[in-house]
Symmetry: none
Subunit: 233 residues, 2 copies
């Protein structure tokens, strides 16, 4: 008996949780349970599940927001369960970073199959995203959402932070404007290239010694931007 994947189940309705517990358990999954957003975040801090089964409509907060927050630092598969079948809800959750969306009531076999798909993806794309990145004097601590420059904390707005971490994720490589826009602002803003200029300027003011002659945040004219890896040229 090998221990199956660890699943975080976030669900407030007791009967459904009970049901899923036995069903998933019977199929070899190990379970951590949470019945609210707060508990879920706690559990995420303590364990690192290989998959999250997330019910929307929790008592203490929005599951979509939780999804977004998780996506800032983790790529763990998130399967959303919801009583709401409305299309815009689905789109919102999926765009927030969820990997699948099941409308209640759903069949157990389908749930299991979609779970397998999600785990397949996860094992295929296991990318070692470093929790802390240090270049020159700049330090990006993704786990703590902290950026420091030669020890001093740099305050970044949410967008600035996401812009920086998106670039960091592709350290040394060019990230196209489209990519940045969709990853930071969402696909709906993929053509607002001006945002990039405004926020790049802001970021450079905060982390570059000479914002007019950037060492880290390099422009690739007509293509995108790149966070330069100081280890190479």
């Amino acid at each position: 008996m090998t221990a199956g994947p660890l699943v975080l189940l976030v669900e407030d309705e007791v009967p459904l949780r009970r049901f899923l517990r036995t069903t998933l358990g019977a199929h070899g999954f190990r379970l951590v349970e949470a019945s609210s957003v707060a508990e879920a975040e706690l559990a995420l801090g303590a364990q690192s599940p290989e998959l999250i089964l997330l019910d929307l409509g929790l008592p203490d907060g929005d599951g979509v927001d939780l999804t977004r927050r998780i996506r800032e630092w983790s790529a763990v598969p998130i399967l959303v369960l919801s009583a709401r079948g409305r299309e815009d809800h689905k789109v919102e959750a999926l765009d927030a970073g969820a990997d699948d969306y099941l409308t209640k009531p759903f069949g157990v076999e389908e749930l299991l199959a979609r779970l397998r798909v999600a785990l397949r993806h996860a094992s295929a794309s296991r990318a070692p995203d470093a929790a802390v990145l240090e270049l020159d004097g700049l330090r990006i601590d993704v786990a703590r959402r902290r950026v420091t420059l030669r020890g001093a904390e740099v305050h970044l707005t949410p967008i600035e932070y996401r812009l920086l971490t998106t670039l960091a994720k592709h350290l040394g490589r060019v990230v196209t404007q489209q990519q940045l826009l969709t990853e930071v602002w969402g696909h709906a803003h993929a053509h607002h290239t001006h945002y990039l200029r405004v926020y790049m300027a802001a970021l450079r003011r905060k982390i570059e010694d000479d914002p007019a002659r950037p060492k880290l945040l390099r422009t690739e004219q007509g293509v995108g931007y790149r966070l330069r890896d100081p280890r190479e040229g």
Copy 2:
């Protein structure tokens, strides 16, 4: 103007295909269409789509089998569309290697959102391809979009870069002027052969020791150009 992802649409019903064509087209996707399993396999041989939209219930074969065959050699995301909502069908398709399963009728926005999820997965799991080409002192790092000459970075404009990489793609072989023009400038400029001379000159100035006597960027009179492979003639 960036060209969107290439999608292979496998669907035999003409009205639905028509509808998806316009819808996806309007959202920036490029489309290849097939109306049967045979056509789909043909198209897969000719092109390499970034995503497959596959209707089950094709006239000449089983879509699930097709999925399995594709999975033997490719990880391209497959979204299944089906009129059949039965759970065992879904499980079968998903376990065969499909990444998602939508039951008709489905909403366009949901389809687009799930498409985005699939593409997100694909780009996340794309292996860091070490596509580096080195000839003499010239180094072309496609992943980083960087060109260096004996260690020193060479700055290329977007067109120069595309011209060089297009030639590199056919290393050692002649690339006709038509081919270069359509691949770099697009179909509409296939007759502006003068562009080639201007940009070849610029490229040679940047990467040749003696631009007047080019070692790498050879002219093939009346035909096109060739990036010489120093390992051979």
